[in-house]
């Protein structure tokens, strides 16, 4: 069996900003190979048998954590769940100490979600295990970005030339950033939509268009990704009320009438029904939200597999 020349050399997956188009496509191709496992009766492969994966989650997140757990389990790895509400800011153990303690127990991969941008990078410099970023501050959420483009690629064949809108609190969204990097690298045109108060600093330096009006752009979109409005993250009142926000930026049945018939509707979840989108849209024929979740599993299996390969290479 002939093996392809090496494309994946990385021991960690910290973000998509540093990856090339080729590398991202390699992850997607690999994920395709893993999709099939979930359709069998024995939904397992022995690929990571004997390896220990730690879910180091400093922020609440059942769905991402479960997705990674399941992915690791499907590859026969042992999974340790380590959730901690506190971070180094409160008087607990520092991130570094926590990681070093875990490493002393003998672990291979750390999947980390943390409220501080840069925490996974910090970790990768201080421990020997592989680090997979499950979301760091406002920085990146690479597996979400990957499963988003995987979903689009599966439905449309390629992202080249597609017009994709990301709608919502871009300033505080790591999903938006990972999406921007992945989508633009794969040839799509990205439009950020939201109120000016929720756009990040110097957004004009990113390879995107910006619009403050969803109605203006909805007609030209091939894909629309609605971000979750995260009250916990936004700080003081960037918009006057939920009602006003939904009125201008919510994906309603009315607005969908102005969209292309085959527009793909996406959402990283969980959905604030009635806020980012109406239930009928979330459950409607254009929605690929559930596929995103399914694809997330295959993508995360691929990521765990690849960083493990990358770590082997470094030895």
């Amino acid at each position: 069996m002939k093996n392809k020349q090496i494309i994946w050399k990385h021991k960690h997956l910290i973000g998509l900003r540093e990856l090339s188009r080729e590398e991202i496509e390699h992850i997607l191709d690999t994920a395709q190979g893993f999709e099939e496992i979930s359709t069998r009766s024995v939904k397992k492969a022995p690929t990571l048998r004997g390896k220990v994966v730690v879910n180091l989650f400093f922020e609440d997140s059942t769905r991402t954590r479960n997705s990674f757990s399941l992915a690791a389990n499907r590859l026969s790895a042992d999974v340790i769940e380590f959730t901690q509400k506190s971070s180094s800011v409160s008087k607990g153990e520092t991130l570094l100490d926590t990681a070093r303690n875990l490493e002393a127990m003998g672990i291979d991969i750390v999947v980390i979600r943390h409220s501080a941008g840069g925490a996974p990078k910090f970790l990768s410099r201080n421990i020997n295990a592989s680090v997979v970023n499950a979301g760091d501050g406002y920085c990146e959420h690479p597996t979400q970005g990957l499963l988003d483009v995987y979903t689009i690629r599966k439905m449309r064949g390629s992202l080249e030339g597609l017009k994709i809108a990301i709608v919502g609190d871009i300033a505080h969204s790591r999903v938006a950033r990972s999406d921007i990097y992945a989508m633009t690298k794969l040839g799509a045109e990205v439009i950020l939509v939201g109120p000016p108060t929720l756009m990040p600093a110097k957004v004009e330096q990113l390879p995107v268009k910006v619009s403050y009006s969803l109605d203006d752009v909805i007609g030209e979109l091939d894909v629309i990704n609605m971000l979750r409005i995260q009250f916990e993250r936004m700080g003081a009142n960037p918009f006057p009320s939920i009602k006003e926000y939904s009125h201008y930026f919510g994906l309603t049945v009315e607005r969908m009438k102005k969209a292309k018939k085959d527009i793909l509707v996406m959402h990283p979840g969980p959905i604030n029904r009635g806020l980012e989108m109406e239930s009928e849209v979330a459950d409607g024929p254009n929605s690929v939200i559930l596929q995103q979740v399914t694809n997330g599993l295959a993508v995360r299996m691929a990521v765990l597999f690849l960083v493990n390969q990358g770590a082997m290479m470094k030895q």
Binding site: R17, S87, S88, V89, T94, L95, L96, H114, S115, A116, G117, G118, A119, K121, F122, D136, G137, Y138, C139, E140, R174, R177, P200, A201, K202, V203, Q205, L206, G235
Partner: protein
């Protein structure tokens, strides 16, 4: 104790007295006895050929963490760091634990400084009690105890009415200066670095430059009304520089300082999340650096001040978001200023000496910063061309949070003389290390 010392053949630079020439300097009984051609007869003769003989350098913005955080730094270790860096006088900031907001704590710091017998230690007391921004502290008693000025540094005074009150009240103390760490907290938010493309891409909350400029603009209006002497600490943005330029043109009694990191580093340095670059006010952009350097050239900046902010390794070994702000650079500050200003020929030596000695002394109203006859002999002798490598492990400071580790700098301190006593010499250091 005080012997007489003759410093021979050095280039004596004393802008206050318009001196810049090769000559000798004689110290008698702790005072400067003579400057000129002097007979080579003394207890100790220092050959300063090829060296610069300067009025003792003054750093008007340092944090010595005592009382409260003595693991990070003490007045003793900080003073040792100061003289190693060529500084004969420093001004301590009041954001200790508890804050220096009354006469007793001012006296405490002075006493510890005297006991250490290294650098002169001066104090700025807090403007408000506990630096909480709500009630005026006993500025009068603190002035009596010797405080040279007031600041809530670490933070700025948020409430305009409180700042107005502070300026009015302080104006009755002739020599006190009110200094401000300009930062409007509502605009700064939870920021940990400059608000910029870098903060967006690094996923960190940013500090809008407006946070500094807004408070500065506000204070300028208050100074206009009260005519109280006001000093802007660590300015970091081009617009702040502009505001000060205008205010000075208007004749307002405003002075300002700049820190080495705002002359040499931009927020690009944060890209690796290295917490040694986390500082407040944060590192900004090339345009801001350029504006500050130009302002130094134009004489708008009155002083260079390190904002020496020591922290333990364990404190800085955290995620960027959580680590404390601060750079400890007292011992290499001079070399950094030389790199930023002398080497690129932005200013000459007399100008540098002016903003490192003469003008800082005026800001805090102390009779220092000059080499006049009869003045206390605070003298710094440096070898301007000697290159050295910054090694944080050799720092006298307890803390090593310094992004300049490994940098090659010019301008080695040969002697630091305080009150006629050699409190630091490069030879003694070489044998000790």
């Amino acid at each position: 104790m005080a012997k007489n010392i003759l410093i021979k053949n050095g280039r004596v630079i004393d802008p206050a007295n318009k001196v810049d020439r090769k000559c000798d300097l004689l110290i008698l009984d702790g005072k400067i006895a003579e400057v000129g051609k002097i007979e080579p007869k003394a207890d100790l003769i220092i050959d300063a050929a090829g060296k610069l003989v300067l009025p003792g350098l003054i750093d008007i913005h340092v944090h010595f963490r005592e009382p409260g955080d003595e693991e990070e730094e003490t007045i003793s270790s900080g003073s040792a760091a100061a003289v190693a860096g060529g500084f004969t006088s420093v001004v301590c900031m009041p954001n200790t634990d508890p804050a220096i907001d009354d006469a007793t704590s001012v006296e405490y710091v002075h006493r510890m400084g005297r006991q250490t017998r290294k650098t002169h230690v001066y104090v700025m007391g807090a403007i408000t009690k506990d630096r909480a921004g709500e009630q005026l502290s006993e500025m009068g008693f603190m002035v009596q105890a010797g405080a040279v000025g007031f600041t809530d540094d670490g933070s700025g005074v948020q409430n305009p009415a409180m700042m107005l009150k502070a300026l009015k009240y302080a104006s009755m103390f002739k020599n006190a200066v009110l200094a401000q760490h300009c930062q409007d907290n509502s605009l700064a938010g939870s920021g940990v670095m400059n608000s910029s493309y870098n903060s967006t891409v690094l996923g960190l909350p940013g500090i809008d430059p407006l946070a500094e400029e807004m408070m500065l603009w506000r204070d300028i209006q208050l100074v206009r009304k009260t005519n109280m002497r006001y000093h802007v600490q660590h300015i970091s943005t081009a617009r702040s520089v502009e505001l000060i330029r205008q205010a000075k043109k208007e004749g307002l009694p405003i002075t300002c300082e700049a820190a080495p990191h705002h002359l040499l580093l931009t927020d690009d340095s944060c890209c690796d999340y290295d917490t040694n670059y986390k500082v407040n006010p944060p590192l900004r952009t090339d345009a801001d650096i350029k504006a500050i350097k130009q302002a130094i050239k134009d004489g708008i900046i009155d002083a260079l001040a390190s904002d020496h902010a020591p922290h333990l390794k364990s404190e800085k070994e955290l995620e960027f978001l959580a680590a404390p702000f601060g750079i400890a650079s007292l011992e290499c500050a001079l070399g950094l200023y030389i790199k930023a200003l002398i080497e690129p020929k932005i200013i000459d030596w007399p100008q540098l000496v002016s903003i490192m000695a003469e003008r800082p002394a005026k800001i805090i109203s102390v009779d220092k910063g000059t080499l006049g006859k009869g003045k206390q002999a605070d003298i710094t002798i440096i070898d301007p061309d000697c290159e050295y490598r910054v090694d944080v492990n050799k720092f006298r400071s307890k803390s090593k949070n310094c992004p300049y580790d490994g940098w090659k700098l010019k301008g080695k301190v040969e002697y630091t003389i305080v009150g006629g006593e050699i409190r630091y010499s490069a030879q003694e250091r070489a044998s000790a290390d």
